[in-house]
Symmetry: C2
Subunit: 241 residues, 2 copies
Amino acid sequence: MNEANLHDGGSVLFFKSEYIGEFVYGGIDGAITTFAVVAGAAGAGADLSWVLIFGFANLLADGFSMSVGNFFSSKAEQANFEKHKAIEYWEIEHKRASEVQEIEDIFRAKGFEGKLLDQVVEVIISNKKVWVDTMMKEELEMIKDTRKPINTALATFIAFVLVGLIPLSSYLMAIWIEIDAQLLFPISCIATGFAMAVIGYLKGFVTRANYLISVAETVLLGGLAAFLAYFVGELLGSYFS
Amino acid sequence: MNEANLHDGGSVLFFKSEYIGEFVYGGIDGAITTFAVVAGAAGAGADLSWVLIFGFANLLADGFSMSVGNFFSSKAEQANFEKHKAIEYWEIEHKRASEVQEIEDIFRAKGFEGKLLDQVVEVIISNKKVWVDTMMKEELEMIKDTRKPINTALATFIAFVLVGLIPLSSYLMAIWIEIDAQLLFPISCIATGFAMAVIGYLKGFVTRANYLISVAETVLLGGLAAFLAYFVGELLGSYFS
């Protein structure tokens, strides 16, 4: 048994495994956003044109906002990490005694005592970087995400738009190819269900959960969300007609 | 200077600071989702009824999917943490030599050497819990989120729906009160802009960033997303009319 195999997912299909999380969650959100428009329209009996207008308005606006929001929050998280690190550096200079005490408490909790504990504390506080790193992990329990914010944001956007196009695809094709209007929603449901199954499978890699459960959860989630949207569409559609 | 004050945000307004992150990101997503519908409709010249049908379909379906997705991913993250912990327990039993070596490497990197290093390793590996905890933090850099998944999911849902209602509020009121149809979109823009400013301010607490920058970023993000939706609505609206 190889340790790397036990802990790492490696790369899946053509995705860098580092960004599968963004692909999965961006993809789910993209598909649900446009599928809600499609299902709401089906419930309300709305025309193809409204599906495409509201579908694309939501696809671009939500995809943009989600990925830019992701960019800002990743940047802010890293800045927050650096800020706390700076506070720890400040504290070991200006509140040295209590910070030494904290290191002592941390290692006493690990089972060190007596002279050995004193020696361990001495080694840790002899190097400021080691001292601060120990406080970050042991006291604040903060770990830095070293991935570039622009990359996680791009992965989110691409996934959101690509997967979000799937529920709209039958309506989009109906502009050029003749498709029975009655079939547009069923085709969209099948295509979206298939997409959710693939994403659920990929989610199994991210969460290292059972693949079948992961696929079932994701498909069910999409189905229930669409049911809600259909129900709202039908209810409000009959109210306004 | 008090350490708790330096590191913690405390509670803000009536929110438990623990869940402000969920409130902020759920709220932004809720507002952008319905604001995209409102702006797309304004661009396409769609009726009040379509704004409410698609607005509420997206509000409920996306809010449901986002919070249930949050629930599953929190649960999966915690399960993944436990799984890796179990792997580490397995490894210290079955690959003891290499796991002892890893502990030695971790503490050598902290500046320990010679006899003291041997003693430190001995204390760490004398307690399996301490040994595994050290591997989780130092080797895998994994920290457990101890919040209940149901709470983070609920905080997300409540924020999504409450803040997501704001862009729709003028259209909703127009059912009962007479409001000039020309004013519905401007009122929605002002209300949404105000909501984004409040959320941006709260985001300042979450990310501990400069409040003015946080407010400006959030309002701008909402404005740009709405501009995209308006543009798509206008473009497709003129194509289909």
